[in-house]
């Protein structure tokens, strides 16, 4: 064990040294970000440049709005995604980056920029989405074609269940709360549904909503009955232990299911595009990246910008190619990224960037479990969720 560790540390030091050959930083910079492996890599590179303090916290979203409203801001930069960017932009806490990009960001890809009314507010580092992962051996043994739609997926799952080769044919992140709601959001978009009317009143209580609930209930019967506690890690583990044959999972987990150190089925799992609903692929595209605080000195902001650029340098990306679906230059999509690229090449849409979906997502999160456990019927569930959304949006001032 020990020698391997030392070797690993040595290898990392070499990789890091390579990357921060020209990024010496003299201005103290503080970062806060989510705790994904990709952020560990990037903040690791930044730390090598000197004078950087990094905080990796999966609950960072609870803090960043307050922390960035302080003057001076408690952090120089933060990680952002589709949804966490909304309150930051609304409260005008982010610094437009166009000048800084012009000065320091020549090596960035233009499609990494998040632009609001022509002003760049954040720089994406990597993308994420959800797509099909399946056990190649099981599907070919049973002569099942790779499913492309949810209906085919369910049919395939039933065949696998009948063959009895695994404990449960599929796994799905249906943990009560955010995950369960996210499944609904994806499927509803896949059915071509619109969450809101023109005046932002809810509109999920319709045939499309009913169809999604019906499908979710059907999926429930094909999974481990404990699916209401199953989050992404749980599904990944099911896959690694060979308990399931297929899953529609986050692209960021594609590496782990084939990792020989953790998986008993490594090499047997193949990635494919996200599954289609009636209208489009029922997956959403997410971006993850950095933004710089408004309430800091220009000097600190420039230092932060240089660090961001250094953390996405081509050699960093090349050294960590398979740890994320990088958007920066130097990324070569491998087998693990195939599913994500096929999903994006299809018609999957980005997760919406507005306040209403936040409120709707919470209402779904606390309202759907009662349907899945059978305590409520589909019609009552959808009606109650709409009512919960209205009451929540009214309290938050979003609806009159």
């Amino acid at each position: 064990m020990k020698p391997r560790h030392i070797l690993l540390a040595g290898a990392m030091a070499v990789a890091a040294n390579m990357a921060f050959a020209d990024c010496t930083n003299t201005v103290p910079v503080k970062t806060i970000s989510n705790a994904f492996p990709a952020y560990e890599i990037m903040t690791g590179v930044m730390a090598g440049c000197g004078n950087v303090e990094s905080e990796l916290d999966k609950d960072h979203r609870l803090k960043i709005v307050d922390a960035f409203s302080a003057n001076p801001s408690l952090y120089s930069m933060t990680s952002l995604t589709n949804s966490t960017s909304v309150p930051m932009i609304d409260a005008d806490l982010l610094r437009p980056l166009d000048d800084l990009i012009a000065a320091h960001g020549a090596s960035l890809n233009p499609h990494q920029f998040i632009e609001i009314d022509g002003k760049t507010m954040a720089i994406a580092a990597f993308a994420n989405t959800q797509h099909l992962m399946y056990r190649e051996d099981i599907l070919s043994d049973l002569g099942i074609a790779v499913p492309t739609t949810w209906d085919e997926y369910i049919a395939a799952a039933e065949k696998i269940q009948a063959a009895g080769v695994v404990d449960y044919p599929i796994g799905h992140y249906m943990k009560d709360g955010w995950n369960l709601a996210f499944v609904f959001v994806n499927h509803y978009l896949g059915e071509g549904g619109e969450f809101f009317n023109a005046d932002w009143t809810p509109s999920i209580d319709n045939e499309k909503g009913m169809a999604v609930l019906e499908r979710m209930a059907k999926l429930g019967t094909l999974m481990d009955p404990e699916y209401l506690v199953s989050d992404t890690t749980f599904v990944t583990k099911q896959m690694q232990q060979g308990k399931i044959a297929m899953a529609n999972l986050w692209a960021s987990r594609a590496g782990a299911v084939n990792d020989p150190a953790e998986s008993t089925v490594s090499g047997k799992v193949v990635m494919a595009a996200g599954l289609r609903g009636a209208e489009r692929i029922a997956s959403t595209i997410w971006w993850d990246g950095w933004a710089i605080a408004k309430n800091i000195s220009d000097e600190e902001a420039a230092a932060a910008m240089k660090l961001i650029v250094a953390s996405m340098a081509e050699d960093v990306i090349q050294a960590n190619n398979d740890d994320a679906i990088w958007l920066a230059k130097g990324f070569v999509p491998g087998d693990a990224a195939k599913g994500a690229f096929d999903t994006a090449a299809g018609d999957a849409v980005p997760y919406p960037m507005n306040k209403y979906i936040g409120s709707m997502h919470s209402a779904l999160g606390s309202g759907l479990a009662a349907f899945m456990t059978g305590d409520k019927d589909a019609a009552a569930t959808l009606a109650d969720i709409e009512a919960a959304y209205v009451s929540d949006a009214k309290e938050k001032g979003l609806l009159k």
């Binding site: 909304v86 943990k175 749980f234 990246g289 980005p350 979906i357 409120s359 456990t373 001032g397």
Partner: protein, 339 residues
Amino acid sequence: MKKKTFAIFVGPSVFMMVLFIAAPLLSVLWQSFHVTQPVYEQVEVEICTPGLLGSVCTTEMKTRPLLNDNGKILTETTFVGLQSYRNVIEPDKLRTAIARGSWRDLMNIRFWSALRFTLVFTILTLPLVLGTGLLIALAVNNTLQRIKGPVIFVSLLPFIITPVIGALSIRWLFLGDGILTAGLEWWLDRDIAMFAQAWTIELMMYIYRVWHVAPFAFVVFYAGLQTVNNDALEAAIIDGATRWQRLRYVIIPHLMPLVIFLTLIHLMDAYRVFEEIVGFSASAHVISLQWLTYEFLLQDGTGARAISRASASAILTMIGIAILLGVPLRRVWREQRGS
């Protein structure tokens, strides 16, 4: 003791409690009657976001909060009376459910189902904790002097272990094919999923709470047993009292003040049940009142919180505790005023 001396002794403690408990409490009370909202405007914006293959640009109507002169979000606060409380307890749905006489409808209202679980949890675990604690105390008191030390040590483990870790370790034993679930399956020869239905999760939460808290009851009772009056016991033996009668008429009355003490502590802690819900991921099946508050407080994906409803729900929780504590407190009250 003079008032001034008393004030100096108590001052620091009172100051800290006022600053960190009383002040937030008052602000919670105030917030439960008010709603603070940003002032919004509708604007059309063009947004470009990164896709894997290139940027995706859309133009959409966005609701954006207005900023004031200091660059902060402009908010307005309005007095809403009991509206937030109504939003929490949903009286309309309550009335329909009662009119229909439907327990299922009632349990589909979040507040009432949370109240149901919290009350059952508190009241059911109380005798279990007291009973288990007393049994262990009697058994330890009864055992060989030499092994008392190690036994007390092992017995205290569930109490001292970090609650988050304790709940997680129980969870690992049962989740999926955790070894205890696997053991149960092997023993009963059937497929078992402990996290798939409400009653098994509830059962695990009861067991966990008793496992976690009974050691405290044990050590308190055990300390109490060390001060039982031997003369009274021997007198009882001379009178021909059986073992059970001695327990019933000498030991238990002696421990009565401790029972009250433990009851008070247990009611307060159990009514706030929260760690179990998180640790066992129970929220799909059962929720507690503090979980409900927490859920309102939780920011949604875009950073907004339902502060007013959270405050109302917190105040309702406090009222509940106050009512529950009323019974044992009346006794303490009489004793304190009497002495």
